[in-house]
């Protein structure tokens, strides 16, 4: 274990923090805390990207770390906060399944993701390949969050945090994607966020609620 350098230890630690935050988001009842957790996750992600950049001398990773910091710690949480204020939806998030059960499903998913990532990680040549499993696990936990939440805003936060997981997978498995791809994804997320924001207003205008259950009905009158 002495062979692991300090920066790899730090990345392992941040990976563990990311996993913990994914679980915290899964368990969180309040939508405002959910946004704070999302911002914290973005911060941890930016830190780990910066550490990978420092350790491997890949200057473009500094750019993606900075981009992550601005976008995921600054802009997106701010947009979400503003949206919540404008929609006036500070309710407690209600899940489809109760929280301890969701956590147990989450643990099963983590085991599944670790097993899934193991052969892939064997093929990767980076020092940080062990964290690939954690990245997979956070993607799956975000999926779970999107599935178990009934309201629109937590689902969008789940979508955004899934992107966090993917980004982490990319940095840990291949030391990051090409800059063009990263810029593209970042812009996609931002634009997606804006469009979803417009959707929220439309949905609420139509149904007087952000509960997506209403979208399942095809007719207006049953």
């Amino acid at each position: 274990m002495t062979a692991i350098p300090l920066w790899a230890q730090l990345i392992n630690l941040l990976a563990a923090v990311l996993l913990l935050l994914a679980f915290a988001m899964l368990a969180q009842r309040r939508v405002l805390t959910l946004i704070d957790l999302f911002a914290t996750q973005g911060f941890a992600l930016a830190c780990s990207t910066a550490i990978v950049a420092y350790a491997t001398n890949q200057s473009h990773l500094y750019w993606s770390a900075g981009l992550t910091l601005i976008l995921k710690v600054g802009v997106l949480p701010w947009l979400l906060h503003r949206m919540i204020e404008r929609l006036d939806v500070r309710w407690d998030v209600e899940g489809l399944i109760n929280i301890p059960a969701t956590m147990l499903i989450g643990i099963v998913l983590v085991v599944f993701a670790f097993n899934l990532a193991f052969p892939i990680a064997q093929l990767a040549s980076t020092v940080t390949r062990a964290t690939l499993g954690i990245a997979m696990a956070s993607v799956m936990l975000s999926f779970l969050m999107m599935i178990t939440r009934r309201k629109a805003i937590p689902q969008v936060i789940g979508f955004l945090s899934m992107e966090n997981g993917l980004f982490f997978a990319a940095t840990s498995a291949t030391y990051g994607m090409p800059m063009v791809v990263e810029l593209g994804i970042a812009l996609d997320v931002l634009v997606g966020m804006l469009i979803l924001g417009v959707f929220f207003f439309q949905i609420r205008e139509q149904f007087d609620s952000l509960d997506l259950k209403h979208l399942e009905k095809l007719k207006e009158h049953e």
Binding site: N12, L13, L20, I99, M103, I107, A130, G133
Partner: protein
């Protein structure tokens, strides 16, 4: 069994029996300071135990033998656990009598008997307390086992002395798994020792009490033994925590007398800090409703399992 081993065993047990009420008194004093009250004397638990030993025991008419022997069994298992947990030295003869899993079993034995005794008299409070205690216990035990398994995975053994020695000799490295396990262990200890987020040790409020409800019928020497045993339980849990997460300063195999004697002040200092931390947690948190306890302990279990999974994946 070497002479040093025997000495350290005797010394460790004596320290545990003698210092356990002091630890309780220290925690109570810190709590009083933190909430701006004038503190009770540090030696109050000793006086309490002495006073109780001098009284005449009153036992309910319909009490069976279980009720009478339970204080001795509870005290006995806690004292045995204090002999097993390597708090002072790892080369203690008793430590090989039971590994981490058997230790959890020992705590479970005490729990089962105290719950049986609580139901024995047939009062409503006793039954309620017993049911709640078992409810908390069955949630806390798996989490505790997972914490111990995390440490076992890192050191490759479930024997506590081996775990302590491996962890004390590791290189200075960041272990995310141990951080998870540490938080989980803290939560489990709070629940198991009837501390604040789950139970309030300072109140006899009927609706919320768990531990106090179970021992309402006890008096005099029986009560003294049970109070002493719960102080010992807190001491044991603190020592397990110290052994797993700050195992430095514990005398190791082959250590001479001086090293063992040196380990004692280190232990006292660590316990003092630990007690202050416990008081701080208790002051900062509010008591949970009993039906929120599964969520609290579920989180502890989750953290412990995550710690174990992270150990497997990252090897750290």
């Amino acid at each position: 069994m070497t002479a040093t081993g025997f000495l350290s065993q005797v010394l460790q047990l004596a320290i545990a029996l003698a210092l356990a009420p002091l630890l309780l008194g220290w925690v109570n004093q810190c709590r009083a300071w933190l909430s701006n009250r004038s503190a009770p004397p540090l030696l109050l638990p000793y006086r309490m135990i002495r006073k109780l030993f001098h009284k005449d025991a009153v036992v309910a008419q319909n009490a069976s033998a279980v009720f009478r022997i339970t204080p001795y069994i509870v005290f006995g298992s806690m004292a045995l656990a204090a002999a097993i947990v390597p708090s002072l030295a790892t080369d203690v003869p008793f430590a090989h009598a039971a590994d981490a899993i058997a230790l959890v079993g020992l705590f479970a034995l005490a729990r089962v008997f105290i719950a049986l005794a609580a139901m024995d008299i047939g009062t409503a409070f006793g039954s309620i307390g017993a049911r709640r205690e078992m409810f908390i216990g069955f949630l806390a035990e798996p989490a505790l086992l997972m914490v111990l398994f995390t440490a076992s995975l890192i050191s490759g053994s479930t024997a506590l002395p081996t775990i302590v020695e491996t962890l004390a000799h590791r290189d200075i490295a960041i272990y995310p798994s141990l951080a998870f396990a540490g938080v989980a262990f803290t939560m489990v200890s709070l629940a198991e020792n009837a501390r604040i987020p789950i139970d309030n040790p300072a109140t006899h409020l009927e609706l919320t009490m768990i531990h106090e409800a179970m021992i309402l019928e006890y008096s005099a020497r029986h009560l003294a033994l049970i109070e002493w045993a719960s102080a010992l339980k807190l001491f044991n849990y603190s020592c397990i925590g110290l052994a797993l997460f700050v195992p430095f300063g514990i005398a190791e195999v082959g250590a001479d007398w001086v090293a063992i004697l040196k380990a004692a002040p280190v232990l006292v200092a660590k316990l003092a800090v630990g007690g202050l931390a416990l008081a701080l947690i208790e002051t900062l948190s509010a008591k949970l409703r009993i039906f929120r306890a599964p969520e609290f302990l579920g989180t502890a279990f989750l953290l412990a399992v995550l710690g174990m999974l992270v150990t497997q994946l990252l090897g750290a």
